[in-house]
């Protein structure tokens, strides 16, 4: 050996030329198989239609890079899995980088520019250290994941179908795929370290102290009685094993769960932050509305199907699944994916659809109507998905094609017909929309006739449902007591259309939008305030596309702003332990979670959160048109499950809601649970406070409102 030992190593240590040649040959084959598999996948995606809007790639790169690097979506509400995956991810990336360095140095620079070779010296040592540590991290992560899968018995990892259909065999194929992936990576990691240990054990170059783990492992092998020569011989075999495993893994990536590595990152890159909140309209010249067959899907959606790793977060958070309906967002994605595999020609070894034909039609066949109609469009699945799969827009598109065929729940059909006739889901005459205002001690301005600061878009339920009208009147009193200059549209207001759009009746939705747009254009106001979260989100996110762009906020935000700036003083109401149920459309859709909580605190109430709160709130089950549908799920209703969740809070007095549909659903649910809490709307509590205490801190000048 030289005196000046430069840290480096010979890659094909003592290998006969034939073996080296064989290695390259196998590597080539593996790459070929990998490329072919990727090609099949890309061909599958290309069967989809182009995107409707161009991608703004610039800020996406930064955004997705940050998300992926920080693993924010994975660590959200599951730190264990998040950190374990981060270890695996970064470890794998590091090792991949390491292999790339070798390839560049040895296979490219070696023959072409030997003077530029860098994989030696200090670089080599640091490289070895880092890779050892990262490799160990990867193994630790994998081990943690294995423990999680084997020991934790997590419900979200239970692959049993929500609709009880289909053979178990396919699901076991998924389990096999999972363990092959996990086990494969573990084996690669272990053999990698073994190779290193054997090499170090055989040659003991002093600089390999930098390969900390390898060195210690070599010591271990020594202690087991492995001689240097034996290590040397064994090294070749283990090296080949490691190489084969690694190459096999690479080849296997596009045919298995491992594709999520690429598809997941692509999906995060393509993520639409307004997915589900702003749905795609139907093109005016479209022959039919919605998605019927696979080629109606966009390439982004087909790609996203491959990103799913069956993590089960959507499955676990879905209220329809919890309520025993045959819908699981996970199963939806997997069914579509499997069918796409069959129909569009990609090939995976572990995902095989049971369908006998490669017929591309999916609406109503591959995805059953019962599953599609069960969705409440609460966005829990979209919010929970770590790889940004957008389930709800798919469901709405599939629903649209069912509506095209006229195949609807008969109650829903009746409601849609009432809406088309009267502009509200109750079938009540349009002219009695403002009747709830009768009996108020003051007159509410008609925004069509006089200018107001705030246009209060009241909403259907709040206007017509007798059990909700007292809350609407309370809201009016809050507006009044807070000195806000407000008015309503009276009978010119129609249902905002949020749930109709999500039920798949796009034509009726656009009709309602047009009516509302005209009514709003004919009224004079500065901003819109709502007390109905469903109206709020569609007015905010979807109406601008139809030419109705306004500033929209929830009453809670406006009141909190008034309180926060000292313009309004809230008296405290008698202390009580309360919990707050975030409405889907206020938490996940419009992200208004702070104002209601701040108000509850200002009222002097003791807020104890339920386990599922904020963006993780559990839907009452009324959204997406479900409130108009009659089929029941096999388990307890989501609203009842939620009340039970609330009852775990000792001494709970009030279950506070901020949405008319929530109020109806939970009042009903609380009746069927013994010891059910009293359901109060946030507005009722504020009204109580305002009416029993001092009113505006400052004058009632409407101009002072933000």
């Amino acid at each position: 050996m030289n005196d000046l030992v430069i840290p480096a190593r010979e890659v094909f240590r003592h290998f006969p030329a034939a073996l080296v040649a064989g290695f390259y040959a196998v590597a080539l084959v593996a790459m070929g198989v990998f490329a072919y598999g990727c090609w099949l996948r890309i061909a599958k995606y290309r069967a989809g239609r182009p995107l409707q809007h161009p991608l703004a790639t610039g800020h996406r790169i930064l955004r997705s890079a940050r998300l992926i690097a920080s693993h924010a979506t994975l660590r959200k509400r599951d730190a264990y899995a998040g950190w374990a995956h981060a270890l695996v991810f970064w470890g794998f990336l590091a090792l991949l980088a390491g292999t790339t360095i070798v390839v560049v140095d040895q296979d490219i620079l070696g023959p072409l520019a030997p003077g530029l070779q860098f994989w030696n010296g200090a670089f080599y040592s640091w490289n070895s250290l880092i890779l050892d540590l990262m490799g160990a991290g990867m193994l630790a992560g994998l081990a943690a994941m294995a423990v999680r899968r084997w020991c934790f018995k997590l419900p979200k990892l239970d692959y049993a179908r929500a609709d009880g259909q289909g053979a178990q065999a396919r699901r076991l194929a998924y389990v096999r795929d999972d363990w092959i992936f996990l086990g494969g990576l573990l084996l690669i990691g272990i053999t990698g370290f073994l190779v290193e240990a054997l090499r170090i054990g055989a040659d003991r170059p002093p600089f390999e102290l930098w390969s900390v783990l390898g060195w210690q492992l070599a010591n271990g092998l020594d202690a087991l009685g492995l001689s240097a020569t034996a290590a040397g011989t064994l090294h070749a075999y283990i090296w080949c094993l490691h190489a084969l495993l690694a190459l096999a893994f690479i080849a296997y990536i596009p045919y298995s769960k491992a594709i999520h590595v690429l598809a997941g990152m692509a999906s995060l890159f393509l993520q639409d932050p307004l997915a589900g909140k702003r749905l795609a309209p139907v093109a005016n010249d479209a022959a039919a509305a919605g998605y019927r067959a696979l080629e109606d899907f966009s390439w982004k959606e087909l790609l996203a199907l491959d990103a799913c790793t069956k993590c089960g977060r959507c499955h676990a958070s879905c209220p329809a699944r919890a309520g025993g309906w045959p819908l699981s967002p996970r199963d939806l994605i997997l069914d579509l994916r499997e069918h796409a595999e069959l129909a569009l020609g990609a090939r995976s070894w572990y995902q095989r659809s049971k369908a006998r034909t490669g017929d591309r039609i999916v609406a109503g066949t591959v995805v059953k109507p019962g599953a599609l109609w069960a969705c409440t469009s609460c966005l829990a699945c979209v919010e929970a998905c770590p790889v940004a799969i957008e389930h709800v827009p798919l469901i709405v598109q599939l629903r649209r094609s069912l509506v095209e065929e006229g195949a609807l729940d008969s109650n829903l059909q009746g409601v849609l017909e009432k809406l088309a006739r009267c502009g509200n889901s109750f079938g009540e005459p349009q002219r009695s929309r403002g009747k709830w205002t009768e009996g108020l001690p003051f007159r509410i301005k008609d925004a069509r006739k006089e200018p107001v600061e705030f246009l209060w878009f009241v909403g259907d339920y709040a206007s017509y449902e007798p059990s909700v009208q007292p809350v609407t009147r309370a809201a009016a009193r809050v507006f009044h007591a807070a000195g806000l200059d407000f008015g309503i549209l009276y009978e010119a207001e129609n249902n905002a259309g949020n749930d109709i759009r999500r039920a798949g009746e796009e034509g009726l939705y656009q009709l309602l939008v047009e009516k509302n747009r005209a009514a709003l254009a004919g009224a004079r106001f500065r901003q819109i305030v709502t007390t109905d979260p469903h109206s709020y989100s569609t007015l905010k996110f979807e109406y601008p596309e139809f030419g109705a762009t306004y500033r929209v906020r929830h009453l809670a935000e406006v009141i909190w702003e008034a309180v926060g700036t000292g313009r309004l003083a809230l008296k405290k109401i008698p202390q009580a332990t309360v919990t707050y149920h975030d409405p889907c459309h206020l938490s996940r859709y419009t992200q208004v979670t702070e104002a209601p909580r701040a108000l509850l605190a200002a009222l002097g109430l003791r807020l104890v959160e339920m386990e599922r709160n904020g963006a993780n709130s559990f839907c009452c089950g009324a959204g997406g048109g479900r409130i108009w549908m009659t089929d029941a799920g096999k388990a307890e209703r989501p609203s009842v499950q939620r009340i039970r969740e609330a009852l775990q809070i000792p001494g709970l007095k009030y279950f506070v809601v901020a949405c008319p549909k929530d109020r109806s659903m939970f009042r009903d649910a609380a009746k069927s649970v013994a010891g059910g809490p009293e359901v109060k709307d946030l507005i009722e509590l504020i009204a109580e406070a305002l009416e029993h205490g001092p009113v505006a801190a400052a004058s009632r000048e409407s101009e002072k409102c933000a």
Binding site: S410, N411, G414, G427, E428, P466, S467, T630, A632
Partner: protein, 329 residues
């Protein structure tokens, strides 16, 4: 039209609707009296000789076409019988019941004769020489007084309402030869009898009926609960049968059953003409509907405008309370 006879096509026997006869006879008597002609009755069916004899008390002549080919209703055979009678009698008017038979036979007769029909009439109005028929239009929301410009008059009258006056005539029965219609392009295969379910809502004293306003099948429990609380039977209108919730044995209406209970509670029923046919003679009619303009309120004695999901549970509770307190008396 002096001296012109009036033919009334009455119904009797299986599958025919006898409740139209009274009104037909009343209208026919009025008209024939005005014209100074005879009131002639036609009966076509099987095993109805007794009815023919009974009708002799109300008509000047009863023509009886009795043969198996008239049961069930055979349009062309019945038509032929009417035409044969008309050849003999040359009436100024032919009146039929607005029943399944009348609704089919009257237009056929009119088409054959090339005359007009006033269908679904609920009354007759004679002003001077003119004869006007009173009938509904636009789902019963508007009433029309119509004149027939062609002769003979052909009109169908809604069943129910009148009771037969005491017998005041002495007609004779004349048998008509049964003549099968030739060249049958429509061939009967079999008659489907209504299912014997043991439930006969026509015998109940109290009927609580649900309509489209009920909404969902589960919600129908409100109707059955109220029926139970009142000690009556639960029934429904046609839409619920069309949706497959119930069979026709529970249906009140023209295509179902005609009921005349002491108390009829209509929940979420708008009061379509066909339904009213089946219950408007009930003793006391209570209507619960959220539409104040629903036609049911025109025949109801007590009406409650509102959401039946709010009203009915309260009503059930009140009824139970009232009955239990009366039980303890």
């Amino acid at each position: 039209m002096s001296g012109a006879d009036v033919v009334v096509v009455c119904e009797a026997g299986r599958g025919q609707t006898e409740s139209a006869n009274a009104r037909l006879i009343a209208a026919g008597a009025e008209l024939s009296a005005r014209w100074g002609g005879r009131l002639v009755c036609l009966l076509a069916g099987q095993g109805i000789a007794a009815k023919a004899t009974e009708l002799c008390g109300y008509a000047d002549a009863v023509y009886l076409a009795e043969a198996s080919l008239y049961e069930p209703y055979a349009p062309l055979a019945h038509l032929k019988a009417v035409q044969k009678l008309m050849d003999d009698v040359q009436p100024g008017a032919v009146l039929l019941g607005h029943t399944y038979i009348g609704m089919d036979l009257a237009p056929r007769l009119a088409a054959k004769l090339g005359v007009g029909v006033a269908g679904n009439c609920f009354g007759l109005s004679m002003e001077g020489d003119a004869v006007y028929f009173l009938r509904p239009m636009y789902r019963g929301r508007v009433q029309a007084k119509v004149a027939l410009e062609t002769r003979p008059y052909i009109a169908t009258f809604q069943p129910g309402a009148s009771e037969l006056p005491p017998p005041n005539r002495t007609g004779k029965v004349t048998r008509l030869d049964a003549a099968p219609a030739e060249g049958q392009k429509v061939r009967p295969l079999r008659t489907i009898e209504p299912e014997l379910t043991g439930i006969d809502i026509t015998k109940a004293e109290i009927v609580v009926s649900g309509g489209r306003g009920i909404g969902t099948k589960d919600n129908y429990a409100l109707v059955s609960d109220l029926a139970e609380a009142l000690g009556g039977v639960a029934a429904c209108s046609r839409p619920l049968v069309d949706m497959g919730w119930f069979g026709t044995h529970r249906q009140v209406g023209q295509s179902g059953n005609t009921v005349k209970p002491r108390l009829y509670v209509a929940c979420g029923i708008s009061g379509a003409i066909e339904h009213l046919h089946g219950m408007k003679e009930s003793g006391i009619i209570v209507a619960i509907n959220q539409d104040p303009g629903a036609p049911i309120f025109k025949v109801a004695h007590f009406g409650m405008v509102g959401d039946l999901n709010e009203i009915m549970p309260e009503l059930i509770a009140e009824v139970r309370a009232a009955r239990s307190s009366s039980d303890t008396k």
